[in-house]
């Protein structure tokens, strides 16, 4: 290539743009990884959902059927559960994002030199297992748990409140708690890009602190807020571990139904159909949501 350049060959005739080559070298491994570990299994699952049942060789061709989708369409409890799970995820995402915002704001603008230390503290829960953190909420909310013991020793209630654990409320509380640190990170990143001199400029123009926040800081941080919201919403729709541990009989989510068909029923085709419907539904919801909010417009403003 160096020789070619010395010979004064025109730019366009070069065999390959080195920057392009760098792009491919960097992009190929993750692309291959994604294709192998995400796209291929997803396609396999999609194919599985059109199978009649599991009998016979798994990789052999088969006559496709829509019976699992038809069965799902006629099973009202499953559809209701999907709706409820989406609503739960909306609530959890909204609550986790709202609670994470002040945290991120403090870290970005008020923590000063200790910001790095606080950030580490925020991430400390990740050092313990997810299961352990959910189990901790069992200890908090249980019949002999921290909250009930406190209320009883304070004489506020005589009997432990059974309604704290093993219901949808417990699932929501636990999920919000688990997601707050996750939600704080993209918001923190967005706030970190806000030029603090804009605050001074706003103050010079007689904006009250609240106006400063509402007209300057909040709009500039909205891309982070939306990212945080989606980061919580998308995985929460299919959540199944937390409802299993603290949800009891009334906290079952759509993810638990999918899991049941894989691990308790050995009915992979039906489970795959349920999962595909959730996947398409979630993607559609997010697409519509992004269309309505239009984050690009926010970024350009």
């Amino acid at each position: 290539m160096i020789l070619a350049r010395r010979a004064g060959a025109p730019q366009g005739a070069r065999p390959a743009d080195p920057r392009r080559r760098t792009f491919w070298i960097l992009a190929l491994p993750p692309a291959l990884g994604l294709a192998l570990f995400l796209v291929a299994p997803l396609l396999f699952m999609a194919a599985l959902s059109f199978r009649t049942d599991l009998s016979g060789t798994l990789l052999a061709p088969f006559a496709p059927t829509l019976k699992h989708y038809a069965q799902l369409a006629s099973t009202a409890p499953f559809l209701r559960s999907l709706g409820l799970s989406a609503l739960t995820a909306l609530g959890v995402a909204a609550a986790a994002t709202a609670l994470a915002y002040p945290l991120a704001y403090y870290l970005a603008f008020r923590a000063g030199r200790r910001a790095a230390f606080y950030l580490v503290l925020l991430l400390v829960p990740f050092w313990t297992s997810y299961l352990l953190r959910v189990m901790a909420w069992k200890l908090m909310l249980g019949g002999e748990g921290v909250i009930n013991s406190l209320l009883m020793s304070a004489g506020i209630v005589d009997e432990p409140i059974a309604a704290l654990l093993y219901n949808r409320g417990a699932v929501i509380v636990t999920l919000v708690y688990v997601w707050i640190p996750f939600a704080a990170l993209p918001i923190l990143a967005a706030l970190g890009r806000v030029d603090v001199r804009l605050h001074d400029a706003a103050a010079d123009l007689y904006a009250t602190p609240f106006q400063q926040f509402r007209r300057v800081t909040l709009p500039l941080s909205l891309p982070g807020v939306i990212a945080a919201f989606l980061m919580v919403f998308i995985p929460t729709v299919g959540e199944y571990v937390t409802p299993l541990l603290v949800g009891g009989t009334s906290g079952t989510m759509y993810g638990n139904i999918i899991q049941d068909f894989f691990t308790r029923a050995a009915n992979w085709p039906y489970g795959s159909a349920l999962a595909m419907v959730m996947l398409v539904g979630t993607v559609a919801l997010v697409a519509v949501g992004l269309r309505l909010v239009n984050p690009r417009r926010l970024l350009e403003r």
Binding site: D53, L54, T249, S250, N256, D260, T263, R264, N267
Partner: protein, 382 residues
């Protein structure tokens, strides 16, 4: 516990003596053979003993697809003692469906561990190899009724290993009177304090006992009634339980008073001094049996067979009741139980208990799909 230990120790040392005698015999043969070899120039034909590698020199690898906890050395102590140079690896499944799914998905495991109810599919899908019982030295210790459980269409595909009951476990300090029917699980008197096992076929079984349905031939109408019954029952539960380790703390804390349970939970709670009783319902208890099968695609069939044989040996089998409160398919072991808690848990002194017990029949693929879908709907309706 001690009698078993000592008896197996005697057997073990006897075995060692036999093995060493054989080794001496082979060694003698090997040392004498060469002396005659040069005379005729023909390599001597190996004797039958010479082809059989002594157990302690046998090497190889064996993978077992089992339930978590079953990798404990207590559950293969005889195998380890007899074949110390065979490497044993474990993979885990979290339910019968999961284990079936893994085998169906092409697991490389040589040996797997399903439970009654889930055996037929392995045969239908050609996933399990026939057991050559003539090579099992401990096979005679297994009562015929247990042997029959591992047979499908008259062929021995599985060896029975662990077994136990399902019945109603209840807190005697919270429940007044004696529980004598499965319908206690559906009794509104225990609102908020019931814990049913999170399992569709189990729910169908309980309803069948209560209403006298034939659980091998549940009709669509009956299944609809069963669904309605458990949908109405769901709010009575404090929680469903998925693993015994979920149930024990629920009973211990008093959150659950009445539960569907295996005898293991009963024995554990008794041992911890929790006031509990294990019902003998008029409809009969349910009983289940865990079996081991050899994968049809296993390249290690002979080694797998040796593993199954050692599973049934006395020391390993005795660890089931003594350490984990599970029944063993080794009849000698069960007949020798003296511990009072264990006798209580297995109702060993009740001569009629097995007569009035309902063994879990094998599901068909249609039943499996319909019943588990029914249960998923019950859960989704809440």
């Amino acid at each position: 516990m001690q009698p078993w230990r000592s008896r197996s120790a005697v057997r073990g040392s006897l075995g060692l003596v036999v093995v060493s005698l054989m080794a001496v015999a082979c060694g003698g043969g090997a040392s004498t053979a060469p002396s005659s070899a040069p005379t005729n120039g023909i390599t001597p034909e190996p004797t039958a003993e010479a082809t059989e590698v002594p157990p302690d020199q046998l090497t190889g690898e064996l993978t077992v697809l089992d339930w978590s906890g079953y990798d404990a050395e207590d559950f293969w102590t005889d195998f380890k003692g007899t074949y110390p140079n065979v490497e044993l690896g474990f993979e885990f499944g979290i339910s019968d469906a999961d284990i079936y799914g893994k085998m169906k998905g092409g697991s490389a495991a040589d040996v797997f561990h399903p439970y009654t109810g889930w055996l037929q599919f392995y045969v239908d899908e050609g996933l399990v190899a026939e057991i050559d019982t003539s090579k099992l030295t401990n096979w005679d210790k297994v009562p015929d009724s247990f042997k029959a459980i591992g047979q499908i269409d008259g062929v021995q595909y599985f060896i029975p290993w662990d077994w136990g009951f399902s019945s109603i476990l209840y807190r005697t300090d919270k429940v007044t009177g004696e529980v004598d029917s499965w319908d206690a699980l559906l009794d509104p008197a225990y609102d908020g304090h019931v814990s049913m096992w999170d399992d569709g076929p189990a729910a169908v079984t309980v309803s069948s006992y209560i209403h006298g349905y034939d659980e091998t031939a549940i009709t669509d109408d009956q299944l609809a009634d069963i669904k309605a019954e458990w949908t109405a029952q769901a709010p009575l539960n404090v929680a469903y339980w998925a693993a015994e380790s979920d149930l024990v703390p629920l009973m211990q804390s008093g959150d659950a008073w009445v539960a569907y349970a295996w005898q293991g939970a009963y024995a554990t709670l008794l041992g911890e001094g929790v006031p509990v009783a294990y019902a003998n319902p008029t409809e009969g208890r349910n009983s289940w049996v865990g079996v081991y099968g050899i994968s049809a695609s296993s390249p290690n069939y002979d080694l797998a067979l040796k593993f199954l044989d050692q599973k049934l040996a006395d020391a390993t089998s005795a660890n089931l009741p003594n350490l984990y409160y599970y029944g063993s398919a080794n009849g000698d072991v069960m007949a020798g139980i003296t511990d009072e808690t264990l006798k209580e848990a297995f109702s060993i002194d009740d001569p009629d208990i097995l007569e009035t017990t309902n063994f879990t029949p094998n599901l068909t693929a249609e039943q499996r799909d319909a019943w588990t879908a029914m249960w998923a709907e019950v859960k989704a309706s809440q």
